[in-house]
């Protein structure tokens, strides 16, 4: 149990490091070593830690626990083949964590980050549309059933390509340094993470590493099918590198543009669902 969580944390942090490395190489920079994010997390955990005087103290600390807790829960949902709707719920609850993280500090930068996180609520809509498409195909929202369906009918990546594209966009909107990462844009210092330093930041890095692992693993599991761990990790790495390429060559969008793009993708997917409904009866 807990050993798998530690494993997922380290792989997630390593993925973050690879992400930074690939972005740097695409942009012609040497970039940090790929284990940089692991060192980063350890470094933060050794730094002096306290709670800012202006913060809502309980909430300030509690969001860190919640951030790690929900993504550990999501990992177990994936592994035990639980409900896809529950995974979707965790993704939405992550928004509450981002929001609470920014608001609880009392810092204006944190609050700007929090407000941007509520503005980007549209990033959940493509995921809901993805869930709906998967339900149309498989008739079930249990991850175990979806995996079984793919073993009979072939991967959903081919059967339901638009849904896979939407899920890809969902993962992209949660990647660091991506076109949609407006909540941690540098013009507002570090956005909602500004005031979480020291141990709190290390805890958040652990939570975000689990998040990256879970989202990439969910993509592989839902659209390609159940695979042995080594092969799944390799595919996750490939998906990650493709995401890094997108992040490296796209500038950060303005907050309202992110909403527009995500809403447009959702709209396209809704049309796809309606067409599917007509075709499949």
């Amino acid at each position: 149990m807990i050993e798998y969580l530690l494993f997922a944390t380290f792989i997630g942090l390593l993925f973050h490091g690879i992400h930074r490395k690939v972005i740097a190489r695409v942009q012609g920079r040497p970039g940090p070593p790929i284990w940089q994010e692991i060192l980063h997390t350890l470094k933060f955990s050794f730094k002096e830690t306290w709670i800012p005087k202006t913060a809502s103290q309980t909430l300030f600390v509690a969001v860190v626990f919640v951030a790690i807790g929900i993504w550990s829960g999501a990992l177990f949902i994936l592994l035990s083949g639980g409900s896809l709707l529950l995974l979707f719920a965790v993704y939405l609850l992550h928004k509450i964590v981002e929001h609470g993280m920014g608001l609880s500090s009392g810092s204006p930068y944190g609050k700007f980050g929090a407000i941007r996180s509520v503005i980007s609520a549209a990033s959940e809509l493509p995921l809901l549309a993805t869930v709906a498409v998967i339900y149309l195909f498989t008739g079930s929202l249990s991850i175990a059933d979806i995996a079984a369906y793919q073993q009979v009918h072939g991967p959903l990546l081919i059967l339901a390509f638009p849904a896979a594209a939407a899920m890809y966009l969902v993962i992209l909107s949660k990647m660091h340094y991506g076109p949609f990462s407006i909540i941690e844009a540098k013009e507002i210092v570090s956005g909602n993470m500004t005031e979480h330093f020291g141990v709190w930041r290390a805890g958040l890095e652990v939570g975000f590493a689990l998040k990256t692992y879970v989202l990439l693993y969910a993509f592989v599991l839902l659209f390609i099918g159940p695979l042995p761990l080594g092969l799944a990790l390799l595919l996750m790495l490939l998906v990650l590198i493709s995401l890094s390429f997108v992040c490296a060559v796209t500038p950060m969008l303005s907050p309202y543009d992110t909403v527009t793009i995500q809403s447009l993708v959702t709209g396209a997917l809704v049309i796809y669902i309606i067409v599917l409904g007509v075709v499949m009866g």
Binding site: K53, T58, L59, S83, L92, S105, P108
Partner: protein, 222 residues
């Protein structure tokens, strides 16, 4: 006696709670949502609001806002009421009951935001209030269409394959919940989050997201 018909969506039911003919149920899905609402209600009870810092534009000056204890007490009361309504909406097994809880969430959300005396926040709260009131029409209308077309409001009956719920009723329910929770309003009315009291403002967000998650389950199951 009770067997949840849709085990492939939220999992099997773990525990049922009978209130006469309203049977609340805890499946893995609704339990997870319930626990999450419980955590944030507890946080709203125990945590104190933050002291907001504001930047004066055009210079390096910043100032701290003071926390008014009266306002904090009212916001906390509303946040706890909102948490209780959310807890109810997460586990209820009756469509009309769900809509009642959803409208209660809408009312308490306005209360949390409108307590703060700032022109921008009050403006946003006023407009949100209008939307929430308008949204009660599709919300209760959806429940009314469900009972008129199927003769029952119990999810235990509605979730079986034998009962067909018209698409318009489902659409109305979703529309109503989207209006009651503030979800779509975040994009247009981010001023709401200027209000002080992070744990209480967060409750607005928690309740509307959880309501949305629950209505997604109900609509897919029906």
């Amino acid at each position: 006696m009770f067997n949840l018909p849709t085990t492939n969506i939220g999992g099997q039911e773990l525990f049922v709670l009978e209130f006469g003919d309203i049977v609340a149920y805890f499946s893995p899905y609704t339990t997870a949502l319930f626990v999450f609402a419980l955590i944030f209600t507890a946080l709203a009870i125990v945590s104190r609001p933050e002291k907001q810092m504001d930047i004066a534009f055009g210079g390096d000056a910043y100032y701290a806002k003071v926390v008014d204890p009266e306002l904090m007490r009212f916001q906390r009361f509303m946040a706890i009421a909102c948490g209780l309504a959310t807890l109810g909406a997460m586990v209820t097994g009756d469509v009309f009951n769900f809509t009642l809880f959803a409208s209660l969430v809408g009312i308490t959300n306005i209360g949390i935001v409108a307590a703060y005396r700032n022109r921008h926040v009050l403006n946003a709260a006023f407009q949100y209030g209008i939307v929430a009131m308008l949204a009660t029409v599709p919300l209760f209308g959806g429940a009314a269409i469900v009972v008129a077309s199927t003769g029952t409001l119990s999810m235990w009956e509605l979730f079986t394959g034998a009962v067909a719920v018209p698409l318009i009723a489902k659409a109305f329910l979703v529309l109503g919940v989207m209006g009651e929770g503030m979800a779509p309003f975040y994009v247009a009315k981010a001023e709401i989050t200027r209000a002080q009291g992070a744990p209480f403002i967060l409750m607005v967000h928690v309740s509307s997201l959880l309501l949305f998650l629950r209505v997604a389950e109900i609509v897919i199951s029906m």
